[in-house]
Symmetry: C2
């Protein structure tokens, strides 16, 4: 307690990154002997994990998601299928309600794409999840990576990068009107005596026509605890940062270096403030992989073992999936070329000055993970505190390797260590995800958020 008051340390935001596939984020870790990741299609697998995170006061469980398969020049490598590299991938929405059924407090953030989902159907889905979870849902808004394979599966043309953000702006504009602008918050009265389920005077048809989307009518879902779900976004590029600064309540930053991340954090906060938002209120987190041992040597050994589950072909396929560049066709001694478009460039920029061989080596050993911290719980906690101090990030998205392995390390070793430093998530005292970030009594979009202006009814 002394230490907490002495340092004035704030608890870190701690979320857990998951993906509905056998491998989590990278590497064919499903075949690691003690890993249960290949049970990802079993409801019990997710319910068990969620209960552990609920008990640990985790800030949220985060489901990444995307359509499309990793391909190099349009062809999926046999190794991707053999090693389950981003294929198979299933639908996280098919497990989330079961997670809410067995947890009391744990929020869930789930990804949905402004390219591939219909705004009205998407809003109805999140609003219902917000109801059944009593306000525990978050929406990770993605504008969808330039994966031609996803467009092909949907029978669509690729959308250009900047167009994608314009489209996403419009998508959120129509979403704000559905979530905030149709029902006044107290419209539902459920009064049997007067035969009034809802007061018609407090229910309004929206009528929106934007450059990409239109919607006209009454939103079909009655007002949910948070209304607009809590907004996550991962925008690293210039246009992506502007988008995040406009709409996001929590930004997931792809970790590069402390210097670059510090610049990105400051830039996003400045951009938000310029728009009249409270930039400091935006939570910014980075991805981190932790490998914890009783000794540093023990941790190193584990890490080497995990690294043995990567291959050059998989690394190249993943890189190609995100950048459109086939590293295996390039001279290994030359510097990597710039990306073909803005997204590709933003994925490539962290390798400025690397040769092709160095990129392959780096990706082979760490995949697309953010920070990798290997050591004892105290060493890893030091690393996290140093990184936060150097960059201004509020917390971390834990990118795990194995289940239960990495979860045991984090929940049983790292969180107790962080707790002694006042850095572990505190016991839940609020009901909704947004209140977890904004404080009790503030379940709705902050008044300075652009979505709030579409709210109808008494302020």
């Amino acid at each position: 307690m002394d230490e907490i008051s002495r340092t004035g340390a704030q608890p870190f935001v701690i979320g857990f990154f998951e993906h509905m596939n056998p491998n989590g984020i990278t590497g064919d870790t499903w075949r690691q002997p003690a890993n249960t990741g290949s049970d990802y299609l079993d409801l019990e697998y997710w319910m068990r994990l969620a209960k552990r995170l609920d008990e640990a006061n985790a800030d949220f469980l985060f489901f990444a998601d995307s359509y499309g398969n990793p391909a190099v020049d349009g062809v999926m490598p046999d190794d991707s299928i053999r090693l389950a590299n981003h294929i198979p991938v299933a639908d996280p929405f098919a497990v989330i309600p079961a997670i809410f059924a067995v947890t009391e407090h744990l929020p869930v953030v789930v990804t949905s794409s402004t390219i591939f989902e219909e705004p009205y159907a998407n809003a109805r889905r999140y609003a219902t999840l917000d109801h059944i979870s009593k306000g525990r849902i978050g929406w990770n808004v993605v504008t969808s990576a330039a994966a031609k394979s996803a467009a092909d599966l949907f029978g669509r043309e690729l959308v250009a990068h900047d167009d994608r953000y314009d489209r996403a702006d419009d998508y959120l504009e129509v979403s704000y009107r559905l979530f905030e602008g149709s029902w006044e918050h107290d419209a539902v009265v459920k009064d049997r005596a007067t035969a009034t389920y809802a007061d018609p005077a407090q229910v309004h048809a929206i009528d929106y026509t934007g450059p990409y989307f239109r919607s006209k009518g009454v939103f079909s879902v009655e007002p949910s605890p948070q209304r607009m779900p809590f907004v996550f976004q991962a925008g690293s590029s210039g246009r992506g940062r502007r988008f995040a600064a406009t709409h996001a309540e929590c930004v997931f930053l792809q970790a590069t270096s402390p210097e670059k991340d510090a610049e990105a954090v400051a830039d996003i906060r400045r951009l938000a403030t310029e728009q009249g938002r409270d930039g400091d209120a935006i939570r910014i987190i980075v991805g981190i992989t932790v490998i914890i041992g009783v000794t540093e040597q023990d941790a190193r050994q584990k890490y080497d073992e995990f690294c043995s589950f990567h291959s050059e072909e998989i690394a190249a396929a993943q890189f190609s999936h995100y950048s459109g560049i086939n590293l295996l066709e390039l001279d290994p001694d030359l510097p990597i070329p710039p990306g073909n478009d803005e997204l590709s460039r933003s994925n490539v920029q962290r390798f400025d000055g690397y040769t092709v061989r160095e990129v392959l080596n780096e990706l082979k050993t760490r995949g697309v993970r953010g920070i990798i911290a290997v050591g004892t719980a105290a060493e890893v906690a030091d690393h996290m505190e140093d990184y936060a101090a150097a960059t201004g990030v509020d917390g971390f998205l834990m990118e795990t390797y194995t289940n239960p392995g990495t979860y045991d390390e984090i929940l049983d070793l790292l969180l107790p260590e962080l707790r002694t430093r006042g850095r572990a998530p505190l016991p839940y005292t609020t009901k909704t995800l947004r209140e977890r970030f904004q404080g009790a009594g503030h379940p709705f979009l902050d008044d300075s958020h652009p979505g709030a202006q579409h709210r109808v009814g008494p302020k």
Copy 2:
């Protein structure tokens, strides 16, 4: 037991019709004193109900669904909002995984539209639900009623009725290829020793180009227990019947009269047989509302009470929603006009020869329900047996009024009565929904089904 062997009676197919709104199918029953329907946004509400149905060996829980709000000449009546007439409506997919989490056997059939959902996203969602339920999901394929309000909410133009079925045919063609034509059934081996999650030689890219939809690539979900989910369809019109005869494994018929239903049953079976399918293997069910009392008088009294929860305005709004015709503007003594399009005509045809006033009265008292059977359990069971004998239907979709009220009547009074007649659903002996209909060991589309020809791998 004697009686069963004497009559050779088959158990009826018994499903339960639900809707994610406070009222179930019709009438503002939420305000009926003992009804808990307005708890429909509480996960516990659905889990409790599902456990009861699981214990009762119900063949399935069925979620109706649609986008769009009941409107008369484009305007939603205040009464619709006040009385919760088809508004609010939430997303059933947000509760189904929790239902699967707490039941062992109960299948769930859920509606998805070939107009409003993307084929690829839809396939991924159902395939994942089939996995996490171990084969208990069914897809009620709807081509979406001509509700302009839904098109407006989605910012779309209305699709003409026959176009809708052509589009739905194409939607199923691309779906068959995704579910059946990408992964061979034994492709996933999860062999740690050889580092093989799946055998690339057994995973294939599809390449489909139809008149409305295209898709190219590998389906992202590994093979689920049923592959193509069990197919439900409600097609009453001429084109709808052809569609059902081509694709459906279970047809939900809108009950009209025994004569007309008998004709429809025979016609659907004949159409299916003409296409090389086993017409008799298609299960055909009708909607039924049962009001059961200890005495007939007791039941009548309950029924009158339920009828008091209907109003003419609500009846007119619902009729307009399904037919596009505003009855309140017409001379009550004239016969109702024919519908404006085929769907509208098919919804109107059961009222051939009625005046506008008669239609309003009928709708006011019974809404859009199918058969209404009021009486003791024995009388209702008689009615069901007579109806099945007269029409050839295989069973019933129970359209309830209240929860727990109607459920108590059905589960505690009607099913025991049906059991003595060999007509109640038998204890579950199979795992998947399709096996419940086709028999153990037959979880996949029948070979004569058009979707089966797209199956890849050894036959």
